[in-house]
Symmetry: D2
Subunit: 277 residues, 4 copies
């Protein structure tokens, strides 16, 4: 399994979110608490939007995040209003850059914690469902990347929740055909550079942990002494695999079978269910 | 493109063949003469058979061969009667371990210099031709690995020349369907640990260079002062992308559209032509 | 801190010792129990002796051992009568191949778990003590490598316990000059390819864990059903940072301030104390 | 040897300078024309200043620049008014991140093409000349890094040309003591984030190539159709190991034994000679 975080809001140095919190993602790379694995050392990735391009920039590498100097450098020098970060614990597929999250297609970024159970059996059937025009973009060998390209196939750029629902539906259908009882386990983050969608779902209704940060204004009332909260706009949002600190009132579980939609104004929580393709 | 060598015969330290010749494969990694590229620095691999296992051991890494210390160490300490070595110049696919040659399946090893022209267009069609039971073994994203699994699909373990012919036939058929005039360019080495097959073929009949070493006994007559020739058995054989030295009489071009079959006793040269699958 | 093991005895596939035990070194790379860190993912190394050379071969890399495919390959194909393996948890120095243990000088190998406290302050003074003729061999930036070259300076190839004692004495002397109360913390393994010395010492007499395996004949009596014990000679020995399994009676703590000397015939346990240089 | 470039002026995407020119530094990593080596594939580095920090950011890695995806990503997304880029061809020292240029100390960056002849003999003597307070910052094993710390020792932050002259003087003095006739060969670039100094010198007065770009206004007159020239300010400057393109009139050789000083207003060319420390 893996750990990830998605940030949206006031442009901050990546360091502020990636390294500074007491139980930061970097800390989680060695000492994760809520995952199946304490160690997430099989590669990492950061993807961030800048003013220079509509497509996000990616830094991905195959070693652990905790000792990577290039990540440390970027964190100290890059400021972004919207970024994803991911640390990987391989469930068996190769530790290579093309298997590191986030994945990117045009403006879109995608990252995942979870697994398709029995993926090695279903891989052929699943990649056949990917639109042939997208097929040449497949670069790695993970279930996660296949999920991304299936979602793209089913209209991610028009209606992300519907595309993810159809992707999940197809994974479950193909899984059942291969005799897998609980094919899908996922927490997903998706963005096109403006909005953010975060999904929590598993066939067996026992999904990996996922949390969203409380509203900045509420947190300021609870913690008037936390300076970081004064520096960020009310629209700032975090969604994380596990909480970055122990700040009371800061973290809220995304319910089973639901997704969080983050956008300027009010965020939304919606139910999520797989759908036929 | 790439460069490779295949050795079979008297067990030697890998160093003897990989580093010692004046225009060794390590030298070719920076200064290749007969390839499209002078630099072959996008990863490398060595596969060798030992007494410990029927499957060959692999050392593969993503950096250049010329500065790799682990390769240097192995070359100084590992002795083998049959080994492959390959240096890669990527034609665009990712530089990652799973894209480094040689590829292995059970006892079989496979390495390649060349390309399927338009592979990104044909990749989906070609991998669909791979036997579903083999599909889960695909780990990388190269045309070369797909060629290997196609050959396995078409009976590599029963009749290698026929399997390679059918693989080549299918690549050309699918290429033509995608409007590619000259889909296939290949020099291939294949072994199961005892015999060695080396193919030279391209659709346009302008194949990459491929040479086989002269018979040891003939070379001894020509070069009575070369001590290496006295140390190896008459059955020792080398097949290489380009000659390892300038020894007169040592290297012979494998003709266009043919393959070399190396086995104890007499080697053979046969014509090669793609065949329907 | 780090974890290591040293094996001497019946030639075995590295796999037998590195991967097979229930709490193997590979397992310890993610789930160490007795170290300061549970994760030892900052590089690894294996050094083994063969019949091909009096110098040992090294495979070292900067990623974690647990996902390294080249290590997995070697473990399946290399057999050796004497080998060292080490997994690193950096105490701050760079994660680079030249900082990975074991270190080698001619026939000698050296690996270490521990640290020189305040090394960054003492480094200049300590490397000045290295014999100038050895200086050019320093390749990395660890305290461990400096300890090795100091021991070489003080006669490692003539009298290892004395050389290590003088090295430890100098580290403590220089440490005290810099106001460090407890400068040295070490468990060391050293070999020249025939004998094995393993030291456990710390200035504060609270040394990292170190264990030696019980005599094979004693273990056979205790565990007549363990087939591995029947396959190895009575002279086979293991020394480890932490036990590789829970086999009752198999592991014995090396006492504080002592060293174990392993050689054909009887092993010996001796007291260890730093000495003036 | 190596190749490098230093850019100062209108903030541009790194891509504009690193990848776009016909004979860009990326092209030079495989096809250098003026160096001793055509291939510069033993690691690379980029250092750039941003508004976020007075210290530059570094991206350095051990593989070749030409296939590095993280470099490609940064080049597409990072804009900077002042950056260094370097591609390395090792003269024997290890290929590791800590040996990749540029080196950094606080606000200062330093990169080098050349070598100290006989460095392995002089290394001990030279590092002893480094100010002990700087010593702990030494991370790698190159002659280049030692030159940087010697220059820092001799007052780089007060008077760069004088500090470099004293460094060069000491290298030559120590070299002569070791019987080396021509100890120093260097082209150096140094900056503190505002000004830029580029030195060309060798003991034997046969220095590696070094060029500075012509004044933007002069080039605009010569090449009114080159759009890039219209987009950059008159203060924009480039200094390079070898020209990035064949634009007539664009490149001027830095004379032997001189240095170029780039600052807002007028650039300057000064003679350079080693000085006693």
């Amino acid at each position: 399994m893996c750990r990830w975080l998605a940030y949206s809001g006031t442009p901050v140095l990546l360091d502020t979110i990636l390294y500074r919190p007491t139980h930061s993602l970097i800390d989680q790379s060695r000492f994760a608490r809520l995952g199946l694995e304490t160690t997430n050392g099989d590669g990492f990735g950061v993807g961030w939007y800048t003013n220079e391009s509509s497509t996000p920039a990616l830094l991905r590498d195959v070693g652990p995040a905790w000792n990577n100097r290039n990540l440390r450098e970027l964190a100290d020098h890059v400021r972004s209003p919207l970024f994803f970060a991911h640390i990987r614990a391989s469930t068996g597929t190769a530790v290579q850059q093309s298997n590191c999250h986030p994945f990117r297609y045009g403006r879109w970024m995608f990252m995942h914690n979870g697994a398709i159970t029995g993926f090695h059996l279903m891989r052929r059937d699943l990649i056949l469902l990917i639109d042939p025009s997208l097929f040449a973009h497949l670069e790695g060998t993970t279930d996660s990347e296949v999920m991304f390209y299936l979602a793209l196939t089913y209209g991610l750029d028009r209606d992300p929740p519907s595309a993810v629902a159809r992707m999940a539906g197809e994974v479950e259908r193909v899984g059942r055909e291969h005799g897998v009882e609980f094919p899908l386990q996922m927490t997903l983050a998706i963005t096109e550079g403006e909005h953010l969608w975060a999904f929590r779902y598993s066939t067996e209704r026992a999904s990996r942990s996922l949390f969203y940060g409380s509203r900045v204004e509420d947190l300021r009332g609870l913690h008037p002494d936390v300076s970081f909260l004064r520096d960020i706009s009310p629209e700032t949002r975090l969604i994380v695999s596990e909480p970055l600190d122990n700040l009371p009132g800061a973290w809220n579980e995304v319910p089973e079978s639901s997704y969080r939609f983050v956008r300027p104004g009010s965020d939304e929580l919606h139910p999520f269910a797989p759908a036929p393709a």
